[in-house]
């Protein structure tokens, strides 16, 4: 299957290993992956700040780059959601884990990651794309990322007190509401630490970057890892 890879701008610049892991993982699972070199950003940071009208150029560029592909896969729920809501595409954009579960129907992964891992449910993937059930809704529970992580040998998922509370990143919120953003991040980190996580994983590097920033400031040895990196472990 031929898929186009969309890498969020900040992942491209700061977390290339996440993009590499996504690419290799898709290749391992038999996809032919194309990475259009002219891509930049989905435009969400501007739109969420109230400048949706300015993000038009970004969206047009996105369309030019990606419109020819049947599947566009992106290792970020947040950027996927924005594109889904704002860019008209002939094909379909999917977040990585939902693509693995729903399209590739992955049932087995030959990887091992013998660690205690906390899963951070990023809001846009969860509540926006509905890749997992939500604690507020009285409906059957499921989680696509958990389903995948459960295939990793040696990995044990920890239980959290607040299963799906926002980490407080929130795009420009992280600086415009610094006090709340940092407090939310600290509380999220605490929940993971209280339950003895060695790694915090998730589907959005932006949230993980925020949590990482807090972990490192604390001098904690706990690390963040994007889900693609774990699923692509050896």
């Amino acid at each position: 299957m031929r898929v186009a890879l969309f890498i969020p701008c900040y992942v491209n610049q700061f977390y290339p290993q996440v993009a590499v892991a996504s690419l290799e993982l898709l290749e391992k699972l038999g996809c032919e992956v194309v990475y259009p070199l002219e891509q930049t950003c989905c435009g969400q940071p501007m739109a969420n700040s109230g400048y949706q009208h300015l993000s038009k150029d970004c969206e047009t560029l996105f369309q030019e780059n990606f419109d020819q592909y049947e599947y566009i896969v992106c290792p970020s729920g947040s950027c996927t959601l924005h594109i889904k809501d704002h860019v008209e595409l002939k094909g379909k954009i999917m977040e990585l884990s939902e693509f693995l579960v729903d399209v590739l129907k992955v049932e087995k992964l030959n990887v091992s990651f013998p660690h205690k891992v906390g899963l951070h449910q990023s809001c846009h993937g969860q509540r926006g794309l509905k890749i997992s059930s939500m604690s507020e809704l009285m409906s059957p529970s499921f989680s696509k990322p958990e389903h995948l992580l459960n295939m990793v040998s040696g990995l044990s998922l920890i239980e959290l007190e607040k299963k799906d509370e926002c980490c407080g990143f929130g795009g420009t919120f992280c600086v415009s509401e610094e006090a709340i953003s940092a407090k939310m991040g600290k509380d999220r980190v605490k929940d993971h630490l209280d339950h003895e996580a060695e790694f915090i994983t998730g589907n959005d590097m932006s949230c993980l970057m925020h949590l990482e920033g807090i972990l490192r400031r604390k001098g904690s040895s706990v690390k963040v890892k994007h889900i693609a990196e774990i699923l692509n472990a050896s």
Partner: protein, 462 residues
Amino acid sequence: MMTHSQAADVFNKDEPRVDWHNATLWNVRKKRDKAAVQIPEWEKLRAIASQIKAHSLSNLSSYLENFEKKASENGVTVHWAKNGEEHNRIVLEIIQKAGLNKNSQGKIPMVKSKSMLTEECHLNSHLENNYVDVIDTDLGERIIQLRKEPPSHIVAPAIHLMKEEVGETFHEHLGVPNIETIPEKLVEIARHHLREKFLAAEVALTGVNFAVAETGEFVVCTNEGNADMGANLAKVHIASMGLEKIIPKRKHLGVFLRLLARSATGQPLTIYTSHFKKPRQGQQMHIVIVDNGRSRQLGRPDFRNSLKCIRCGACMNTCPVYRRSGGHSYHSTVGGPIGSILAPNLDMKKNADLPFASTLCGSCSNVCPVKIDIHDQLYKWRQELVKSGYTPKVKSLSMQMMRFTLSHPGVFNFAGKMGKGVLKNAPFLINNFLNPWYKQREMPEVPQDSFTEWYIKNRTKE
């Protein structure tokens, strides 16, 4: 006036208190979950409730007329107020014309049960300036009335206070000799204090939770019984209602009441769910129907759904921002997520910061019993506010820069390479001249190559 983020900054100076506030409200959210999960048809009920409200709003003018007709037939006098000022004037007139007795200070004694609408209209100060002695009787409201504070939560107005502070308030204002800290004792003190007020009141004002177009009756929900104590003793009962409170039929109450208390506090029903239809013998009953910006909100297609709100407060209890910034940080009568989509309708300039006081996580929309798309409306208000010019200039400049960079791949790749060290082009940090990111967080470590560079080296043939 402080903006939300400034107020939140102050609130967060006392971290243990933030943790306490957060935990108290999260407990309410947990109670809501426990109650909701026991109703197998919960999600279906939410959908039905939302549709009933959508229908009511789409036929609101007829339902209002119908309600007025039925209520009048029932012996209730119906008044109409375009705004808060007119509402206050009408209420005062009713009181003055009723020939009521004055207390020893020459004031007409009045008791009030919880009504966010009268807060919105600033009724109390108007009445107090005109020789009416207004006593809020909901315990939480009475506490903050004594402290001269606005409510911090629509269901639990004094939720920001600790029992020690309540004890101090009672000590200072009610002549309690010591500082009491046991909730049972504090409630007992309030019971005696307010009983006197109920028995002395000539007029009682209540809010309205639901008004039934079919029958002209209105429903008031309390746990304490203060609305009933007031209204069933006083000679005059005035009910203030926002015009969006109308529902078509009596049987629809079943849907909303099954949702309201469970969403609000996790109770299956409020203790007193009272239906007022006709005045009792010798009593006057008045309803004041208030617009105050509601018909304008109804005319905004993106935001009219906010009028479906039944004021359960669930969106506040679940909101991770509200729980950590407190209700007062929203500088508006109704705080939290719902307040942030209502307030800009009333005053765009003053409330321009509120729709930005959210991460758009969406939890509010999921708990809302009438399925208001709260977080989507927050997003839409941001667009609206920026278009109307209500955001800081600095932000708009940096946004222009970002647009240029992000829509020109060449510039993007170059800028990325040059600026990485200072994260200059990480879009979420564009607003970074003092870079608040760094205050409590480290920056990510900067890699040698971007992914694009890696890809060119490892996957392209050239």
